[in-house]
Subunit: 100 residues, 3 copies
C-alpha cells in the first residue's frame, strides 16, 4: 500500500470555541476535520470542564505548511487567552491528495 | 520500560458503517478496537454529519501487515463509495504480543 | 513555528477506573489530560463495553520520563488485572514548557 506522510493536528479546547476554531483551520487550508466531545483538566491548572461535552477535541489532517499556520494562529490568538492545547503527529494516509 | 512499535490505525466514517468496518478489521487480523462518537466535515466536500454520534472514530492497534491490509480494503471497498478517512501512526506499546 | 517533541500517552480502560487512572498519572507528573467516552473490544478477548461511555479514553501530554513511569505503573498494577490498553506517540507541541 502506497502511503504519503501528512500532519494530524489535534486541538483540545473549551466547546464554546468550536465554531471559531473550525472556521480558523478551514481558512488556513484544512479541508476536513473530526470533532469529539471531551472533558479534562488543563496543564495550566485550569479546569477544562467536568462534564462530557464541555471540551472539544478537533482533529484535522493537513500538509506541513497548513499545520504550521494553525500552530502560529493558536500561539498568537488562542494560547494567551484560552485553555487550549494542541499537538501535531506525523501520520501516513492513502489518499493524500484529498487532505492537501 | 521495554516497548515495541506497532501501528495505530484510525478510521473516521459515517456511523452506519461501524459494524461493517469492525467486522472487516477483525477479519483482517485486528484483535481489539476503540469506538468514539464523532462529528465533522469530510475532505471531499461531503458533510460527515452535524450531530454527535453521526460519525464514528475507530482505532485499532495492529502490526504493520494488518495495517496494510486494512488500508488496502478501505481503498478498494470504502473510499470510492463512502465518506471515510483513515490514517496510520507509529506507536509504542508495552504489551505488544496482545496486539499482533 | 518552533516546536518541541513530547509524548502523547493514550490509555483506554473501563470507565470505572477513570478516577484511579487520572490520580495515578497526575501523581506521576502529568499536568493535564483529556477524557473521551468510548466503547470497544479488548485485545484479550475481553469485551470493553458495549455502550458509549462504558470505556474511557485518557490522553496526556508528558515528557519521556513521565511516559515511562506511566507505562511502568500500568504494567505493574493495571494490565494484570484490568482490560486496559495503552500506547505512546511522539508529538510536536508549541508550548512544551506547559506539559513538562
Amino acid at each position: 500500500m502506497q502511503t504519503i506522510s501528512l500532519k494530524l493536528v489535534t486541538i483540545v479546547s473549551e466547546s464554546v470555541l468550536t465554531e471559531q476554531l473550525v472556521e480558523a483551520i478551514k481558512r488556513l487550508g484544512a479541508t476536513g476535520y473530526t470533532l469529539t466531545e471531551a472533558t479534562g483538566e488543563g496543564s495550566r491548572g485550569m479546569r477544562f470542564g467536568e462534564h462530557p461535552g464541555e471540551n472539544v477535541r478537533i482533529e484535522t489532517l493537513v500538509g506541513p505548511d497548513v499545520a504550521d499556520r494553525i500552530l502560529d494562529l493558536l500561539t498568537a490568538d488562542f494560547f494567551p487567552n484560552y485553555a487550549v492545547a494542541a499537538w501535531v503527529v506525523d501520520v501516513q494516509v492513502v489518499r493524500g491528495g484529498k487532505y492537501r
